[in-house]
Protein backbone atom coordinates (compact mmCIF):
# COMPACT_ATOMS: atom_id res chain seq x y z
CA UNK A 1 0.00 0.00 0.00
CA UNK A 2 1.39 3.33 -1.03
CA UNK A 3 1.75 6.06 1.56
CA UNK A 4 -0.16 8.36 -0.73
CA UNK A 5 -3.94 8.09 -0.93
CA UNK A 6 -4.12 10.33 -3.99
CA UNK A 7 -1.54 11.01 -6.66
CA UNK A 8 -1.47 13.06 -9.82
CA UNK A 9 1.19 12.32 -12.39
CA UNK A 10 1.83 14.61 -15.33
CA UNK A 11 -1.77 15.81 -15.39
CA UNK A 12 -2.70 18.15 -18.21
CA UNK A 13 -6.11 19.78 -18.42
CA UNK A 14 -7.60 21.84 -21.21
CA UNK A 15 -10.69 23.98 -20.81
CA UNK A 16 -11.95 24.84 -24.26
CA UNK A 17 -9.04 26.42 -26.11
CA UNK A 18 -7.13 27.06 -22.90
CA UNK A 19 -4.40 24.79 -21.64
CA UNK A 20 -4.61 25.22 -17.86
CA UNK A 21 -2.66 22.38 -16.25
CA UNK A 22 0.72 21.60 -17.77
CA UNK A 23 1.77 18.37 -16.11
CA UNK A 24 0.76 18.52 -12.46
CA UNK A 25 2.55 16.11 -10.13
CA UNK A 26 0.99 15.94 -6.69
CA UNK A 27 1.00 13.42 -3.87
CA UNK A 28 -1.52 13.56 -1.03
CA UNK A 29 -0.24 11.36 1.82
CA UNK A 30 -2.70 9.21 3.76
CA UNK A 31 -3.97 10.70 7.00
CA UNK A 32 -2.33 14.04 6.39
CA UNK A 33 -3.59 17.47 5.58
CA UNK A 34 -2.19 18.78 2.31
CA UNK A 35 -2.38 22.46 1.47
CA UNK A 36 -2.44 23.52 -2.14
CA UNK A 37 -1.20 27.11 -2.33
CA UNK A 38 -0.44 29.57 -5.11
CA UNK A 39 -1.56 32.82 -6.63
CA UNK A 40 -4.87 33.30 -8.45
CA UNK A 41 -4.87 31.58 -11.80
CA UNK A 42 -2.12 29.16 -10.80
CA UNK A 43 -4.44 26.19 -11.48
CA UNK A 44 -5.45 25.13 -7.96
CA UNK A 45 -9.21 24.99 -8.55
CA UNK A 46 -8.69 23.31 -11.93
CA UNK A 47 -6.55 20.70 -10.21
CA UNK A 48 -9.34 19.94 -7.72
CA UNK A 49 -11.93 19.81 -10.50
CA UNK A 50 -9.71 17.46 -12.50
CA UNK A 51 -9.34 15.15 -9.49
CA UNK A 52 -13.14 15.09 -9.19
CA UNK A 53 -13.65 14.37 -12.88
CA UNK A 54 -15.41 17.69 -13.49
CA UNK A 55 -12.76 18.40 -16.08
CA UNK A 56 -11.10 15.38 -17.61
CA UNK A 57 -7.34 15.32 -17.89
CA UNK A 58 -6.13 15.40 -21.50
CA UNK A 59 -2.96 13.63 -20.43
CA UNK A 60 -1.51 12.17 -17.26
CA UNK A 61 -2.97 10.02 -14.50
CA UNK A 62 -4.98 10.49 -11.30
CA UNK A 63 -4.76 7.59 -8.84
CA UNK A 64 -6.90 7.11 -5.74
CA UNK A 65 -5.89 4.34 -3.35
CA UNK A 66 -4.01 2.57 -6.11
CA UNK A 67 -6.88 2.79 -8.57
CA UNK A 68 -6.72 4.83 -11.78
CA UNK A 69 -9.64 7.30 -11.61
CA UNK A 70 -8.55 9.56 -14.47
CA UNK A 71 -11.49 8.63 -16.70
CA UNK A 72 -14.06 8.03 -13.99
CA UNK A 73 -17.25 10.11 -13.83
CA UNK A 74 -17.68 12.51 -10.95
CA UNK A 75 -20.32 10.48 -9.14
CA UNK A 76 -18.20 7.34 -9.34
CA UNK A 77 -15.30 9.24 -7.81
CA UNK A 78 -17.57 10.59 -5.08
CA UNK A 79 -18.81 7.04 -4.36
CA UNK A 80 -15.23 6.04 -3.58
CA UNK A 81 -15.92 7.99 -0.39
CA UNK A 82 -14.58 11.33 -1.48
CA UNK A 83 -16.20 14.60 -0.38
CA UNK A 84 -15.65 17.78 -2.37
CA UNK A 85 -16.61 21.36 -1.54
CA UNK A 86 -16.35 23.38 -4.74
CA UNK A 87 -15.35 27.04 -4.93
CA UNK A 88 -18.96 28.06 -5.68
CA UNK A 89 -20.22 25.91 -2.76
CA UNK A 90 -22.82 24.07 -4.88
CA UNK A 91 -25.70 24.75 -2.49
CA UNK A 92 -29.17 23.64 -3.61
CA UNK A 93 -30.81 27.01 -3.10
CA UNK A 94 -34.43 25.84 -3.39
CA UNK A 95 -33.99 23.01 -0.91
CA UNK A 96 -33.95 23.55 2.83
CA UNK A 97 -30.77 23.33 4.84
CA UNK A 98 -32.04 20.01 6.18
CA UNK A 99 -32.62 18.64 2.68
CA UNK A 100 -29.16 19.78 1.62
CA UNK A 101 -27.69 17.88 4.56
CA UNK A 102 -29.78 14.80 3.91
CA UNK A 103 -28.66 14.65 0.29
CA UNK A 104 -25.06 14.80 1.42
CA UNK A 105 -25.55 12.02 3.95
CA UNK A 106 -25.43 9.20 1.43
CA UNK A 107 -25.99 6.45 3.96
CA UNK A 108 -29.20 8.01 5.28
CA UNK A 109 -32.71 8.27 3.86
CA UNK A 110 -34.02 10.24 6.81
CA UNK A 111 -32.39 12.63 9.25
CA UNK A 112 -32.88 10.02 11.99
CA UNK A 113 -30.55 7.69 10.09
CA UNK A 114 -27.71 10.18 10.27
CA UNK A 115 -25.26 9.59 13.12
CA UNK A 116 -26.86 11.96 15.64
CA UNK A 117 -23.71 12.53 17.65
CA UNK A 118 -21.90 13.55 14.54
CA UNK A 119 -24.77 15.80 13.47
CA UNK A 120 -24.65 17.54 16.86
CA UNK A 121 -20.95 17.99 16.38
CA UNK A 122 -21.58 19.65 13.01
CA UNK A 123 -24.22 21.90 14.61
CA UNK A 124 -21.80 22.96 17.32
CA UNK A 125 -19.20 23.89 14.70
CA UNK A 126 -21.65 25.77 12.48
CA UNK A 127 -24.60 27.00 14.55
CA UNK A 128 -26.24 28.57 11.48
CA UNK A 129 -26.87 25.09 10.04
CA UNK A 130 -29.05 24.19 13.01
CA UNK A 131 -30.64 27.62 13.33
CA UNK A 132 -31.85 27.67 9.71
CA UNK A 133 -32.55 23.92 9.47
CA UNK A 134 -35.97 24.30 7.82
CA UNK A 135 -35.18 27.43 5.77
CA UNK A 136 -34.43 27.41 2.04
CA UNK A 137 -30.65 27.31 1.72
CA UNK A 138 -30.81 30.09 -0.87
CA UNK A 139 -31.85 32.50 1.87
CA UNK A 140 -28.63 32.00 3.83
CA UNK A 141 -25.97 34.69 3.83
CA UNK A 142 -22.75 34.10 1.87
CA UNK A 143 -20.84 32.95 4.94
CA UNK A 144 -23.69 30.72 6.12
CA UNK A 145 -23.80 29.01 2.70
CA UNK A 146 -20.09 28.33 3.07
CA UNK A 147 -20.76 26.74 6.48
CA UNK A 148 -23.48 24.56 4.98
CA UNK A 149 -21.20 23.50 2.13
CA UNK A 150 -18.54 22.31 4.55
CA UNK A 151 -21.14 20.81 6.90
CA UNK A 152 -22.45 18.66 4.04
CA UNK A 153 -18.97 17.40 3.29
CA UNK A 154 -18.32 16.29 6.87
CA UNK A 155 -21.77 15.03 7.90
CA UNK A 156 -20.55 11.48 7.23
CA UNK A 157 -17.04 10.08 7.48
CA UNK A 158 -15.15 10.15 4.20
CA UNK A 159 -11.76 8.86 3.27
CA UNK A 160 -10.75 11.97 1.36
CA UNK A 161 -12.06 15.47 1.98
CA UNK A 162 -11.32 18.11 -0.66
CA UNK A 163 -12.25 21.71 0.08
CA UNK A 164 -11.71 24.74 -2.14
CA UNK A 165 -11.13 27.68 0.20
CA UNK A 166 -12.92 26.65 3.38
CA UNK A 167 -12.39 29.96 5.20
CA UNK A 168 -13.74 32.23 2.46
CA UNK A 169 -16.28 34.74 3.77
CA UNK A 170 -16.32 33.40 7.32
CA UNK A 171 -16.18 35.38 10.55
CA UNK A 172 -13.05 34.77 12.66
CA UNK A 173 -14.86 32.70 15.31
CA UNK A 174 -16.17 30.31 12.66
CA UNK A 175 -12.75 30.04 11.01
CA UNK A 176 -11.38 28.93 14.36
CA UNK A 177 -14.13 26.31 14.67
CA UNK A 178 -13.25 25.07 11.23
CA UNK A 179 -9.54 24.82 11.99
CA UNK A 180 -10.39 22.70 15.05
CA UNK A 181 -12.78 20.57 13.03
CA UNK A 182 -10.24 19.79 10.31
CA UNK A 183 -7.64 18.97 12.96
CA UNK A 184 -10.09 16.52 14.57
CA UNK A 185 -11.03 14.96 11.24
CA UNK A 186 -7.37 14.49 10.45
CA UNK A 187 -6.78 12.91 13.85
CA UNK A 188 -9.60 10.46 13.08
CA UNK A 189 -7.75 9.30 10.00
CA UNK A 190 -9.31 11.34 7.22
CA UNK A 191 -7.02 12.52 4.44
CA UNK A 192 -7.61 16.17 3.59
CA UNK A 193 -6.69 18.33 0.61
CA UNK A 194 -7.35 22.06 0.93
CA UNK A 195 -6.94 25.04 -1.33
CA UNK A 196 -6.65 27.97 1.02
CA UNK A 197 -5.66 31.62 0.71
CA UNK A 198 -5.72 32.29 4.44
CA UNK A 199 -2.07 31.76 5.27
CA UNK A 200 -2.72 31.58 9.00
CA UNK A 201 -5.21 28.77 8.37
CA UNK A 202 -2.71 26.99 6.11
CA UNK A 203 0.13 27.27 8.58
CA UNK A 204 -1.88 26.03 11.54
CA UNK A 205 -3.22 22.96 9.77
CA UNK A 206 -0.96 21.92 6.94
CA UNK A 207 1.33 18.88 7.16
CA UNK A 208 2.24 18.80 3.52
CA UNK A 209 2.25 21.70 1.13
CA UNK A 210 2.28 22.00 -2.64
CA UNK A 211 2.66 25.36 -4.34
CA UNK A 212 1.36 25.84 -7.87
CA UNK A 213 2.21 28.41 -10.50
CA UNK A 214 1.26 28.54 -14.18
CA UNK A 215 -0.41 25.16 -14.13
CA UNK A 216 2.36 23.13 -12.50
CA UNK A 217 3.42 22.29 -8.96
CA UNK A 218 6.57 24.33 -8.41
CA UNK A 219 7.27 23.23 -4.86
CA UNK A 220 6.28 20.29 -2.68
CA UNK A 221 7.38 19.58 0.87
CA UNK A 222 6.35 19.87 4.48
CA UNK A 223 4.53 22.92 5.83
CA UNK A 224 7.04 23.01 8.66
CA UNK A 225 9.97 23.43 6.27
CA UNK A 226 8.16 26.13 4.32
CA UNK A 227 7.17 27.95 7.52
CA UNK A 228 10.83 28.02 8.56
CA UNK A 229 12.23 29.25 5.25
CA UNK A 230 11.35 32.88 4.68
CA UNK A 231 13.35 33.16 1.49
CA UNK A 232 11.41 30.24 0.03
CA UNK A 233 8.11 31.79 1.08
CA UNK A 234 9.04 34.98 -0.73
CA UNK A 235 10.12 33.22 -3.89
CA UNK A 236 7.05 30.94 -3.96
CA UNK A 237 4.26 33.06 -2.57
CA UNK A 238 5.59 36.59 -2.78
CA UNK A 239 5.31 37.07 0.96
CA UNK A 240 6.39 35.73 4.32
CA UNK A 241 3.89 33.56 6.14
Amino acid sequence: MSDDLLTLEGVNTHIGAYHILHGVDLAVPRGQLTMLLGRNGAGKTTTLRTIMGLWHASAGRVTFDGRDITRLDTQRIAMLNVAYVPENMGIFADLTVKENMLLAARGARTIAQIDQQRLQWVFSLFPAVEKFWNHPAGKLSGGQKQMLAVARAIVEPRRLLIVDEPSKGLAPAIINNMIDAFAQLKASGVTILLVEQNINFARRLGDTVAVMDNGVVVHAGTMEALARDEALQHSLLGLAI
Binding site: M1, I15, Y18, L37, G38, R39, N40, G41, T45, D65, N81, E87, D115, Q117, R118, Q120, W121, S124, L125, A128, K139, L140, S141, G142, G143, Q144, Q146, M147, E156, P157, R158, R159, E165, K168, G169, L170, A171, P172, A173, I174, I175, N176, N177, D180, A181, Q184, L185, A187, S188, G189, V190, Q197, I199, N200, L237, G238, L239, I241
Partner: protein, 286 residues
Protein backbone atom coordinates in the same frame (compact mmCIF):
# COMPACT_ATOMS: atom_id res chain seq x y z
CA UNK B 1 -20.56 67.20 1.35
CA UNK B 2 -21.80 63.77 0.50
CA UNK B 3 -23.04 62.33 3.72
CA UNK B 4 -24.77 58.97 3.54
CA UNK B 5 -27.32 58.20 6.21
CA UNK B 6 -29.80 55.47 7.06
CA UNK B 7 -32.67 56.11 9.46
CA UNK B 8 -34.54 53.25 11.17
CA UNK B 9 -33.68 51.08 8.20
CA UNK B 10 -35.50 47.75 8.51
CA UNK B 11 -36.28 44.75 6.37
CA UNK B 12 -38.36 41.72 7.31
CA UNK B 13 -38.52 38.41 5.48
CA UNK B 14 -41.64 36.79 6.83
CA UNK B 15 -41.10 36.67 10.56
CA UNK B 16 -37.35 37.18 10.30
CA UNK B 17 -36.06 40.73 10.82
CA UNK B 18 -32.82 40.72 8.84
CA UNK B 19 -31.99 44.39 9.41
CA UNK B 20 -33.61 45.96 12.42
CA UNK B 21 -33.96 49.73 12.70
CA UNK B 22 -30.43 50.72 11.79
CA UNK B 23 -29.79 54.46 12.13
CA UNK B 24 -26.31 55.51 11.15
CA UNK B 25 -24.53 58.17 9.11
CA UNK B 26 -21.28 58.01 7.20
CA UNK B 27 -19.05 61.04 6.68
CA UNK B 28 -16.92 61.83 3.64
CA UNK B 29 -13.25 61.11 4.16
CA UNK B 30 -14.06 58.31 6.57
CA UNK B 31 -13.71 54.58 6.08
CA UNK B 32 -16.23 52.68 8.18
CA UNK B 33 -15.80 48.94 8.60
CA UNK B 34 -18.95 46.91 9.17
CA UNK B 35 -18.30 43.72 11.09
CA UNK B 36 -20.46 41.03 12.65
CA UNK B 37 -21.05 37.27 12.64
CA UNK B 38 -22.12 35.51 9.45
CA UNK B 39 -25.77 36.24 8.89
CA UNK B 40 -25.74 39.38 11.07
CA UNK B 41 -27.24 41.38 8.20
CA UNK B 42 -24.15 43.09 6.77
CA UNK B 43 -24.77 42.24 3.12
CA UNK B 44 -28.51 42.83 3.58
CA UNK B 45 -27.75 46.30 4.99
CA UNK B 46 -25.69 46.97 1.86
CA UNK B 47 -28.56 45.69 -0.28
CA UNK B 48 -30.93 48.12 1.39
CA UNK B 49 -28.58 51.06 0.90
CA UNK B 50 -27.84 50.27 -2.75
CA UNK B 51 -31.48 49.46 -3.50
CA UNK B 52 -31.08 45.76 -4.40
CA UNK B 53 -33.58 45.14 -1.62
CA UNK B 54 -36.54 47.28 -0.77
CA UNK B 55 -36.74 48.27 2.88
CA UNK B 56 -39.81 47.38 4.92
CA UNK B 57 -39.34 50.64 6.81
CA UNK B 58 -36.81 53.46 7.13
CA UNK B 59 -34.98 55.85 4.84
CA UNK B 60 -31.68 56.11 2.96
CA UNK B 61 -30.41 59.61 2.26
CA UNK B 62 -27.37 60.98 0.48
CA UNK B 63 -26.52 64.62 1.07
CA UNK B 64 -29.98 65.14 2.50
CA UNK B 65 -31.61 63.75 -0.63
CA UNK B 66 -33.99 60.86 0.02
CA UNK B 67 -33.03 57.88 -2.16
CA UNK B 68 -35.46 55.43 -0.57
CA UNK B 69 -37.81 55.23 -3.54
CA UNK B 70 -35.10 55.03 -6.21
CA UNK B 71 -34.18 51.76 -7.93
CA UNK B 72 -30.53 50.63 -7.78
CA UNK B 73 -29.71 52.40 -11.06
CA UNK B 74 -31.04 55.70 -9.72
CA UNK B 75 -29.01 55.33 -6.55
CA UNK B 76 -25.89 54.58 -8.60
CA UNK B 77 -26.50 57.75 -10.60
CA UNK B 78 -26.89 59.66 -7.35
CA UNK B 79 -23.38 58.56 -6.37
CA UNK B 80 -23.64 55.23 -4.58
CA UNK B 81 -21.06 52.77 -5.87
CA UNK B 82 -21.14 49.18 -4.78
CA UNK B 83 -18.92 46.16 -5.34
CA UNK B 84 -20.64 42.83 -4.76
CA UNK B 85 -19.85 39.86 -2.59
CA UNK B 86 -20.44 37.79 -5.70
CA UNK B 87 -18.90 39.08 -8.86
CA UNK B 88 -21.15 40.97 -11.21
CA UNK B 89 -19.41 41.40 -14.55
CA UNK B 90 -20.06 40.89 -18.25
CA UNK B 91 -18.55 37.41 -18.44
CA UNK B 92 -18.33 37.11 -22.22
CA UNK B 93 -16.61 40.43 -22.83
CA UNK B 94 -12.93 41.14 -22.38
CA UNK B 95 -11.44 42.86 -19.36
CA UNK B 96 -10.89 46.06 -21.34
CA UNK B 97 -14.45 46.00 -22.72
CA UNK B 98 -15.86 45.68 -19.22
CA UNK B 99 -13.88 48.66 -17.94
CA UNK B 100 -14.62 50.72 -21.05
CA UNK B 101 -18.34 50.13 -20.65
CA UNK B 102 -18.21 51.33 -17.07
CA UNK B 103 -16.22 54.42 -18.09
CA UNK B 104 -18.67 55.04 -20.89
CA UNK B 105 -21.62 54.75 -18.52
CA UNK B 106 -20.20 57.65 -16.55
CA UNK B 107 -18.59 59.86 -19.18
CA UNK B 108 -19.66 58.77 -22.62
CA UNK B 109 -21.79 61.25 -24.50
CA UNK B 110 -23.20 62.85 -21.40
CA UNK B 111 -21.37 66.10 -22.03
CA UNK B 112 -21.75 66.33 -25.80
CA UNK B 113 -24.82 66.43 -27.95
CA UNK B 114 -25.43 65.71 -31.61
CA UNK B 115 -23.67 63.47 -34.06
CA UNK B 116 -20.13 64.53 -34.65
CA UNK B 117 -17.41 62.23 -35.95
CA UNK B 118 -14.66 64.18 -34.26
CA UNK B 119 -16.32 64.06 -30.87
CA UNK B 120 -17.09 60.34 -31.25
CA UNK B 121 -13.45 59.70 -32.03
CA UNK B 122 -12.08 61.91 -29.28
CA UNK B 123 -14.62 60.60 -26.78
CA UNK B 124 -13.51 57.13 -27.68
CA UNK B 125 -9.88 58.09 -27.16
CA UNK B 126 -10.69 59.58 -23.76
CA UNK B 127 -12.61 56.50 -22.75
CA UNK B 128 -9.74 54.23 -23.66
CA UNK B 129 -7.24 56.45 -21.88
CA UNK B 130 -9.33 56.38 -18.71
CA UNK B 131 -9.88 52.62 -18.97
CA UNK B 132 -6.10 52.21 -19.40
CA UNK B 133 -5.46 54.26 -16.32
CA UNK B 134 -7.82 52.13 -14.26
CA UNK B 135 -6.41 48.85 -15.57
CA UNK B 136 -2.92 50.06 -14.67
CA UNK B 137 -4.12 50.91 -11.15
CA UNK B 138 -5.38 47.37 -10.59
CA UNK B 139 -2.31 45.88 -12.32
CA UNK B 140 -4.33 44.13 -15.00
CA UNK B 141 -3.03 45.77 -18.20
CA UNK B 142 -1.46 42.48 -19.26
CA UNK B 143 -4.83 40.73 -19.15
CA UNK B 144 -6.93 43.36 -20.90
CA UNK B 145 -7.69 41.11 -23.92
CA UNK B 146 -8.83 38.13 -21.86
CA UNK B 147 -12.46 37.06 -21.67
CA UNK B 148 -13.72 37.70 -18.16
CA UNK B 149 -15.35 34.27 -17.75
CA UNK B 150 -11.92 32.68 -18.12
CA UNK B 151 -10.29 34.76 -15.39
CA UNK B 152 -9.63 33.26 -12.00
CA UNK B 153 -11.89 34.40 -9.20
CA UNK B 154 -9.36 36.82 -7.69
CA UNK B 155 -8.90 38.65 -10.97
CA UNK B 156 -12.66 38.97 -11.34
CA UNK B 157 -12.79 40.61 -7.93
CA UNK B 158 -10.09 43.07 -8.94
CA UNK B 159 -11.95 43.88 -12.11
CA UNK B 160 -15.07 44.54 -10.14
CA UNK B 161 -13.24 47.17 -8.12
CA UNK B 162 -12.04 48.65 -11.40
CA UNK B 163 -15.63 48.97 -12.64
CA UNK B 164 -16.57 50.67 -9.42
CA UNK B 165 -13.73 53.17 -9.79
CA UNK B 166 -14.76 53.85 -13.36
CA UNK B 167 -18.20 54.90 -12.16
CA UNK B 168 -16.59 57.61 -9.99
CA UNK B 169 -19.11 57.40 -7.15
CA UNK B 170 -18.98 59.53 -4.00
CA UNK B 171 -19.78 56.54 -1.79
CA UNK B 172 -17.81 53.29 -2.20
CA UNK B 173 -19.29 50.13 -0.73
CA UNK B 174 -16.99 47.11 -0.58
CA UNK B 175 -18.26 43.70 0.48
CA UNK B 176 -15.27 41.51 1.31
CA UNK B 177 -13.15 42.89 -1.53
CA UNK B 178 -10.24 40.53 -0.90
CA UNK B 179 -12.20 37.29 -0.43
CA UNK B 180 -10.64 34.55 -2.51
CA UNK B 181 -7.39 36.44 -3.02
CA UNK B 182 -4.12 35.27 -1.60
CA UNK B 183 -2.02 37.38 0.73
CA UNK B 184 0.26 38.48 -2.09
CA UNK B 185 -2.64 39.70 -4.27
CA UNK B 186 -4.85 41.34 -1.69
CA UNK B 187 -2.49 44.34 -1.31
CA UNK B 188 -3.40 45.55 -4.82
CA UNK B 189 -7.02 45.97 -3.72
CA UNK B 190 -6.05 47.33 -0.33
CA UNK B 191 -3.80 49.91 -2.02
CA UNK B 192 -6.70 51.03 -4.17
CA UNK B 193 -8.84 51.47 -1.08
CA UNK B 194 -6.00 53.38 0.61
CA UNK B 195 -5.79 55.68 -2.42
CA UNK B 196 -9.53 56.31 -2.28
CA UNK B 197 -9.20 57.06 1.41
CA UNK B 198 -6.34 59.52 0.81
CA UNK B 199 -8.65 61.51 -1.44
CA UNK B 200 -10.57 62.54 1.73
CA UNK B 201 -13.72 63.36 -0.26
CA UNK B 202 -15.00 59.79 -0.55
CA UNK B 203 -17.23 57.96 1.88
CA UNK B 204 -16.12 54.34 2.14
CA UNK B 205 -18.03 51.41 3.66
CA UNK B 206 -16.23 48.11 4.02
CA UNK B 207 -17.62 44.73 5.06
CA UNK B 208 -14.58 42.68 5.99
CA UNK B 209 -13.79 39.66 8.14
CA UNK B 210 -10.03 40.02 8.06
CA UNK B 211 -9.34 41.88 11.27
CA UNK B 212 -5.83 42.94 10.28
CA UNK B 213 -7.33 44.70 7.26
CA UNK B 214 -10.03 46.32 9.40
CA UNK B 215 -7.47 47.44 11.94
CA UNK B 216 -5.30 49.03 9.31
CA UNK B 217 -7.92 50.75 7.17
CA UNK B 218 -10.87 51.61 9.36
CA UNK B 219 -11.39 55.02 10.94
CA UNK B 220 -14.48 53.67 12.60
CA UNK B 221 -16.15 50.29 13.13
CA UNK B 222 -19.83 49.52 13.43
CA UNK B 223 -21.03 46.11 14.55
CA UNK B 224 -24.20 44.40 13.35
CA UNK B 225 -25.59 41.49 15.31
CA UNK B 226 -28.93 39.82 14.55
CA UNK B 227 -29.72 42.73 12.25
CA UNK B 228 -29.23 45.46 14.84
CA UNK B 229 -26.47 48.02 15.26
CA UNK B 230 -24.89 47.00 18.57
CA UNK B 231 -21.61 48.93 18.64
CA UNK B 232 -20.20 51.99 16.90
CA UNK B 233 -16.94 53.74 17.56
CA UNK B 234 -13.23 54.05 17.24
CA UNK B 235 -11.63 50.74 16.08
CA UNK B 236 -9.51 49.75 19.09
CA UNK B 237 -12.36 50.40 21.47
CA UNK B 238 -14.94 48.48 19.38
CA UNK B 239 -12.61 45.51 18.86
CA UNK B 240 -12.03 45.31 22.61
CA UNK B 241 -15.76 45.37 23.39
CA UNK B 242 -17.27 42.15 24.80
CA UNK B 243 -19.79 41.80 21.98
CA UNK B 244 -17.02 41.72 19.35
CA UNK B 245 -14.74 39.51 21.42
CA UNK B 246 -17.41 36.92 22.13
CA UNK B 247 -19.92 36.99 19.27
CA UNK B 248 -17.48 37.73 16.50
CA UNK B 249 -13.94 36.73 17.34
CA UNK B 250 -15.04 33.77 19.48
CA UNK B 251 -12.82 34.63 22.41
CA UNK B 252 -14.16 33.16 25.66
CA UNK B 253 -15.80 35.71 27.97
CA UNK B 254 -13.41 37.11 30.57
CA UNK B 255 -10.71 35.00 28.99
CA UNK B 256 -7.94 35.63 26.60
CA UNK B 257 -6.66 38.84 25.11
CA UNK B 258 -7.95 40.22 21.87
CA UNK B 259 -6.97 38.45 18.70
CA UNK B 260 -3.52 39.60 17.62
CA UNK B 261 -2.80 41.25 14.30
CA UNK B 262 -2.26 37.99 12.46
CA UNK B 263 -5.45 36.48 13.81
CA UNK B 264 -3.60 33.95 15.95
CA UNK B 265 -6.03 33.77 18.78
CA UNK B 266 -7.44 30.54 20.04
CA UNK B 267 -11.18 30.02 20.02
CA UNK B 268 -13.00 28.40 22.90
CA UNK B 269 -12.55 24.66 22.67
CA UNK B 270 -14.59 23.13 19.88
CA UNK B 271 -16.57 20.03 20.87
CA UNK B 272 -14.87 16.83 19.88
CA UNK B 273 -15.68 14.73 16.89
CA UNK B 274 -17.64 11.72 18.20
CA UNK B 275 -15.25 8.80 18.41
CA UNK B 276 -17.05 6.52 15.98
CA UNK B 277 -17.23 9.35 13.48
CA UNK B 278 -13.75 8.66 12.17
CA UNK B 279 -12.87 6.49 9.26
CA UNK B 280 -15.73 4.89 7.38
CA UNK B 281 -16.15 1.20 7.94
CA UNK B 282 -14.77 0.41 4.52
CA UNK B 283 -11.79 2.71 5.05
CA UNK B 284 -8.14 1.77 4.88
CA UNK B 285 -6.55 -0.72 2.58
CA UNK B 286 -8.52 -3.09 0.46
Amino acid sequence: MSQLATRDLTVRFGGHVAVNGVTCSFEPGTLTAIVGPNGAGKTTYFNLISGQLKATAGRVTLDGRDLSDLPPSGRTRAGLGRAFQLTNLFPHLTVLENVRLAVQATRGGSHRRGFNLWSIWSDHRDLIARADEILAAIEMKAKEREIVANLPHGDQRKLEVALLMALEPTVFMFDEPTAGMNAAEAPVILNLIRQLKADRSKTILLVEHKMDVVRELADRIIVLHNGALVADGEPAQVIASPIVQEAYLGVAPGGRDAQDASGRDVAPPTPSLPSRGGLPSDGGAR
